[in-house]
């Protein structure tokens, strides 16, 4: 039995598996861009819950709607400067991000839109517990703030 005959391919296979694991283990990607994308996923998760109620896909629950809207307020108010760090736009990171360099350029309205989002989310939190129509009516404001930023500062 020739062990070495089987050994070489096995080493090769293990090395390959190890490299793949290390790659999938979160070492790749810019940490700031990863954090931003995680933040966006949290918005999306909470908006999904609220939207399902607004659309009538699940039953309206005033308490849950209000709590979820408050999550959006909390997310919007988080201090995010570190993960919107300069030098992490499409110009530097390529396909790892969709954040356009204009976010960091003079005259950028990025920060203003962030404040608009806080205001719109706060209005949603106030309206969310007042019934399904009230909830649905206030979502458009949040969507407007999301879209305003994505229109100007997210790569198409």
């Amino acid at each position: 039995m020739n062990i070495s005959k089987h050994f070489a391919p096995m080493v090769a296979a293990l090395t390959l598996a190890g490299a793949t694991l290390a790659h999938a283990g979160g070492h790749d990607g810019n940490p700031a861009a990863n954090a931003r994308q995680a933040h966006m996923k949290l918005y999306a998760f909470n908006l999904d819950m609220i939207g399902a109620m607004a659309k009538g896909e699940v039953g309206y629950d005033a308490e849950a709607a209000e709590a979820t809207a408050k999550n959006l307020v909390a997310l919007a108010m988080m201090h995010q400067d570190a993960y919107w760090a300069p030098g992490t736009s499409t110009a530097e990171l390529g396909n790892e991000t969709k954040a356009l360099p204009s976010i960091w350029e003079d005259g950028s309205r990025f920060g203003d839109i962030g404040i608009e989002l806080i205001e719109a989310a706060s209005e949603l939190a106030a309206a969310a517990g007042e019934g399904q129509d009230s909830l649905r009516g206030a979502i458009r404001g949040v969507g407007g703030a999301c879209s305003a930023c994505h229109r100007d500062y997210r790569q198409r």
Binding site: D48, K55, R140, G144, S147, A148, Q155
Partner: protein, 290 residues
């Protein structure tokens, strides 16, 4: 031989003259609009459905009621700059007649009798009914007059020759409905999609002359500015439910709770002001596309 050449060039010039005459800018007859009374409140609905503000508001503004023009649109034909359509009598449309306004929307012809470029989506607005034209005219007169001069388009030859647009209209200006619609709701949806909303202007690819490809209607297209792709709306490209589509037009949120970006953000800002019934009619019509 020399005589034959002379005759040929005379014939060619006659041919060009005849073609220009046959494709000269068309206008509506003033009598057709003389008896129509515009209703500004109804015209506001037409205004939001038509999305006028998406192109004609100021470059840096989110005020959808101030329409001084100036936004620039890069395309393969050059850069178009949206003109002033506020009621200013000198720089805008304040001194137009209702019939001139109708000729612009329905035939793509300016009050001076020149062809407009189809960046102005008259190929869709040509399907508008006369009362909606009158109502829109009434509403737009209530908007603020802004004294800002319109800028020239910056286009490449031969697209900078407006007379060629007569041939473009002959080939591509087809006001008939694209798709059938049976129920009143689908008819309303079709009117909002094919006429006022002018969805196909972006969601359908164009040929090298800028004419919409009827064979690929609403199947999605490269972005005219070069980067990115405009998604298709036919069922093979879009599997959202009608309620998903209506909710997206209302809030900008996709079924995955991503949000509209790019140019579609502007569309949501205007279409989102329609009634829930109108948004659902659009959605149902989109779902009925084959």
């Amino acid at each position: 031989m020399k005589r034959a050449m002379t005759w040929l060039s005379v014939l060619a010039m006659l041919g060009i003259a005849a073609a220009l005459w046959l494709t000269r800018p068309a206008v509506v007859s003033p009598a057709r609009f003389a008896s129509l009374q515009g209703n500004a409140a109804r015209g506001e609905v037409v205004f939001w459905a038509g999305g006028c503000a998406s192109c004609h508001k100021a470059e840096t503004s989110d005020d959808d009621l101030a329409l001084p023009g100036g936004r620039r649109f890069a395309t393969q034909f050059g850069t178009f700059t949206a003109p002033n359509i506020s009621p200013d009598p000198t720089h805008g449309i304040g001194d137009w007649t209702m019939a001139e306004f109708a000729s612009a929307l329905l035939h793509g012809t300016s009050p001076e009798g020149r062809h407009y470029y189809p960046a102005f989506p008259y190929a869709s607005y040509a399907r508008m009914n006369d009362q909606d034209v009158a109502d829109l005219w009434a509403f737009m007169q209530t908007l603020p007059a802004l004294p800002l001069a319109s800028q020239r388009h910056d286009l490449t030859f031969p697209f900078n020759v407006r007379a060629t647009l007569g041939a473009w209209k002959f080939l591509f200006l087809k006001p008939a409905w694209v798709r059938p619609a049976e129920t009143p709701e689908l008819k309303r949806g079709r009117y909002l999609v094919e006429a006022l909303g002018h969805c196909a202007e972006c969601h359908t690819p164009r040929n090298f002359l800028g004419g919409s490809l009827a064979s690929a209607w609403m199947e999605g297209a490269p972005h005219p500015a070069g980067k990115g792709r405009i998604p298709g709306l036919v069922p093979s490209a879009l599997d959202w439910s009608a309620e998903d589509i209506a909710y997206y037009l209302e809030t900008g949120f996709t079924p995955d709770f991503d949000s509209a970006g790019g140019d579609m953000a502007e569309v949501v800002a205007t279409i989102g002001r329609l009634s829930p019934e109108d948004r659902l009619a659009i959605a149902r019509y989109i779902k009925a596309l084959e």
